[in-house]
């Protein structure tokens, strides 16, 4: 890690601690500290793969947020966070994946900065966020494919309008990391999108509706597609559909089903896959579905088990290519916020994908996961608290 980054990390932590312990003459902001540590023993049974990785700490992250009321009904927030990228990544040892500002009121949210891009609409119960990245995310067409984070994080400018508490319409422009081509000068937009979703707020999860979330999004990556001049023709378009169903919304034995399909309209000239860029630009259909069981003891999560299946097909290729993935995992809570987990991941690739990614991968991971979230200086309510949702909103 460079000295500069180390110093910056220490400064953030020191600054937060100071604010937590001292008074301030002005308006002291709310301070949120979020941390997640994942450390796993990975056993790789893939042909030619490493036999084991003793300690994989990727996706371990620290987030610091500051929030306060503005002079009118709006609230302003700053979030800074860093994480450890995947083992073998060519990124620096620490990645600042979250650095953004947010201004919001009851019905509007504006975000600008570096954060999670809108490549996926929902999250899935996998050990790490990128365990099924080929199936769960719209892949970044400008990435070389070395780093999964290229698909997940970027600069974003986003406006969201909330209707009737549960309907959200978002429009966003993004700057995805560019490695294979230089599209945007001066960090401009190289992707645009729209999404619309119905979503039950987290605080109302025990209202026991069957439909928890349903959404659709349209994403376009503004590529420099050779041979085409029209912006619409050059744009790589994807349509995503997602849903989360509470199939048994029971507080003790909870079951839900998550599904997302991504239709990448692709470029018709991509008939073979020779590298990662082709995978991102070929017409494809990706689906990922998870069935999750959650046992809650004493009103706390105690055990979670999930079975997920992903399928991706490339219908326009001359050499029939597809991907299948199965992920089975279970997490057991051994203390407040602390879990042990076991995950089995199997992926099979066919056609051209065999030469790019390999024929199949089998991995077993045993992990410790520790997640905390702490708020200091609480001074106003969340938009989605039960009081604000069900008993009148107070700005």
């Amino acid at each position: 890690m460079s000295k500069k980054r180390t110093s910056l990390c220490l400064l953030i932590i020191l600054f937060t601690v100071m604010l937590c312990n001292t008074g301030s003459a002005g308006v002291t902001p709310e301070i949120l500290l979020g941390a997640r540590g994942i450390s796993s023993l990975n056993l790789d049974y893939s042909p030619g793969g490493d036999s084991e990785t003793v300690s994989d700490i990727s996706d371990t992250s620290l987030l610091v947020g500051f929030r306060q009321k503005l002079y009118n009904r709006y609230r302003g927030a700053l979030v800074i966070g860093f994480q450890f990228p995947d083992e073998g990544s060519d990124l620096e040892p620490i990645l600042f994946h979250q650095v953004f500002l947010r201004v919001e009121d009851r019905t509007n949210i504006f975000r600008i900065g570096r954060t999670r891009v809108r490549s996926a609409m929902i999250e899935f119960p996998t050990l790490r966020d990128d365990d099924a990245i080929y199936f769960t995310d719209i892949l970044n067409p400008f990435s070389s494919g070395e780093d999964a984070e290229d698909n997940q994080y970027g600069s974003i400018m986003e406006a969201t309008r909330i209707f009737g508490q549960r309907y959200q319409l978002s429009a966003y422009g993004e700057h995805l990391k560019e490695e294979t081509e230089n599209i945007s000068k001066d960090f401009g937009f190289n992707a645009l999108g729209l999404s619309f979703q119905y979503r039950v707020p987290e605080s109302q999860r025990w209202n026991r509706e069957i439909l928890n979330q349903i959404g659709i999004s349209l994403n376009t990556a503004l590529t420099s597609r050779p041979g085409y001049s029209g912006e619409l023709d050059k744009a790589l378009k994807s349509i995503t559909f997602s849903t989360v169903l509470n199939i048994r919304p029971d507080p003790v034995h909870f079951w839900d089903l998550r599904h997302q399909s991504i239709f990448n309209l692709g470029f018709s000239e991509v008939k073979n896959l020779s590298d990662y860029s082709d995978i991102t630009r070929a017409r494809s259909i990706s689906t990922f579905t998870s069935l999750r069981y959650l046992y809650r003891k004493l009103e706390r999560p105690a055990l979670q088990a999930a079975l997920s299946y992903g399928y991706k097909a490339f219908p326009d290729l001359s050499n029939n290519s597809s991907q299948h993935q199965v992920i089975a995992n279970s997490f057991y809570r051994i203390g407040e916020n602390f879990d042990v987990g076991l995950q089995l991941r199997y992926q099979k690739n066919s056609g051209d994908l065999k030469t790019i990614i390999g024929e199949h991968e089998t991995e077993v991971q045993f992990a410790f996961i520790y997640s905390i979230e702490q708020l200091w200086n609480s001074q106003f309510d969340d938009r989605e608290s039960l009081l604000n949702l069900e008993h009148g909103y107070i700005p």
């Binding site: 001074q379 608290s385 009148g392």
Partner: protein, 394 residues
């Protein structure tokens, strides 16, 4: 506008709320009546006075520009005043319109023990949607109050309290100090962050618990409710971890109140006590909060006449009194020194709103017959050079 200009303007605006000129307007006096508990009218069933109370979640404006969610009896904070005669048969229908549990405790009243409102001891909690009927004979005489006894720390400072006055036709205090007007003041203190976070958490927990109860799946360990201490000890021996152990629930900070109210309002929305020269008024003081208050009246001594509703053997003259949590005190103020006098907590941390002075339980005793020429005590108009050069919050 530079910083200095801004401070001066700020001072002028803040001070404007202190100017007494408008206190004498009839509209102000009419509005002031609404700052005291509204009396709940009984239905008469034979020889029984029947009152109907409900509790619901309500929004309360503590001071201009500051709203908070409260648990309120009949959508009022404090709840409506129940006023009965000593010996009356009283029946109170209490309907729970929230998703939380509640009871009513009749503080200072000699009710049958099954009517005392202590959950799991004298009665089961009144669960969401349920109604409970309290019945008792109004004893003893005096100033008392009622409040929720479930999650008392939270529910009381969330607003679940109200005055209960037991009168006697031949009032002993009235004999000593003839008076026509009387006022009821209920003091409280609020940690709004504690309230908001705890009510949200309890609402969320109760949604989950109600589902299980409705499905006949009450679980003692999950609900942390046991039939006996021995049963709890046995559960702990078998591996059960109660919610209060640190590896199950982090210790929440105890409430640190930073809003102080009288009749559910903080200054400048607190009520005003009106008096006339030569008049005596009775003030019933009830501490329904968690903080001690050291109440001081400027320019007067007053007579302490009742303690916990009980007439004291010898009225005691003083100008500062300690009002402890759960305590009621009755005082008589004699109109002997005309003017506009502040009446406030002398622990002046409690005359602040969110840490800024003036605020909290600051009130005024106002002689409504004050001559016109004495009413404008701070004629600031056109005299900008006299405006204080320091903002009130500095």
């Amino acid at each position: 506008m530079n910083r200095r200009d801004f401070l001066i303007t700020g001072a002028a605006l803040s001070a404007a709320t202190l100017l007494p000129g408008s206190l004498f307007a009839e509209t102000t006096k009419r509005k002031n009546l609404k700052r005291f508990p509204r009396q709940l009218k009984p239905e008469i069933e034979g020889n029984v006075k029947v009152f109907r109370l409900f509790v619901d979640i309500h929004q309360q404006e503590l001071a201009p520009g500051l709203k908070t969610h409260t648990l309120a009896f009949n959508n009022q904070v404090p709840g409506p005043e129940i006023r009965v005669n000593r010996g009356d048969r009283v029946k109170v229908y209490f309907k729970n319109r929230t998703e939380l549990n509640h009871t009513i405790h009749w503080h200072g009243m000699h009710v049958p023990w099954r009517m005392d409102g202590v959950p799991y001891i004298t009665q089961m909690p009144v669960m969401p949607g349920q109604e409970f009927v309290y019945e008792f004979t109004a004893e003893p005489y005096g100033t008392h109050f009622y409040h929720c006894h479930w999650g008392t720390l939270l529910h009381m400072q969330a607003g679940m309290f109200g005055s209960l006055i037991v009168e006697e036709p031949d009032d002993p205090i009235k004999k000593l100090f003839p008076y026509e007007r009387e006022y009821t003041l209920l003091y409280s203190a609020h940690d709004l962050n504690f309230l908001r976070n705890e009510i949200n958490a309890m609402l969320e927990r109760m949604k989950e618990r109600l589902y299980l109860v409705k499905n006949g799946r009450f679980d003692k360990e999950r609900f942390a409710v046991f039939d006996s201490k021995e049963e709890l000890e046995e559960a702990v021996r078998n591996g059960y971890q109660p919610p209060y152990v640190v590896n199950r629930r982090a210790p929440a900070d105890l409430a640190q109140p930073f809003w102080f109210t009288v009749n559910g309002k903080s200054y400048p929305s607190t009520p005003t006590l009106y008096i006339r020269e030569g008049e005596s008024i009775r003030v019933r003081l009830i501490n329904s909060g968690t903080e001690e208050h050291y109440l001081h009246l400027h320019g007067h001594d007053f007579w302490l006449v009742c303690d916990d509703g009980i007439p004291v053997p010898q009225p005691w003259q003083m100008n500062t009194m300690r009002l402890s949590p759960g305590k009621t005190l009755d005082i008589i103020i004699e109109g002997k020194n005309r003017g506009i006098w502040t009446f406030h907590d002398h622990d002046t941390r409690r005359v602040t709103n969110n840490g800024l002075y003036p605020g909290g339980n600051l009130m005024a005793l106002v002689y409504e017959d004050l001559p016109e020429e004495e009413r404008r005590v701070m004629p600031m108009e056109g005299m900008n050079n006299l405006i204080p050069k320091v903002a009130l919050d500095e």
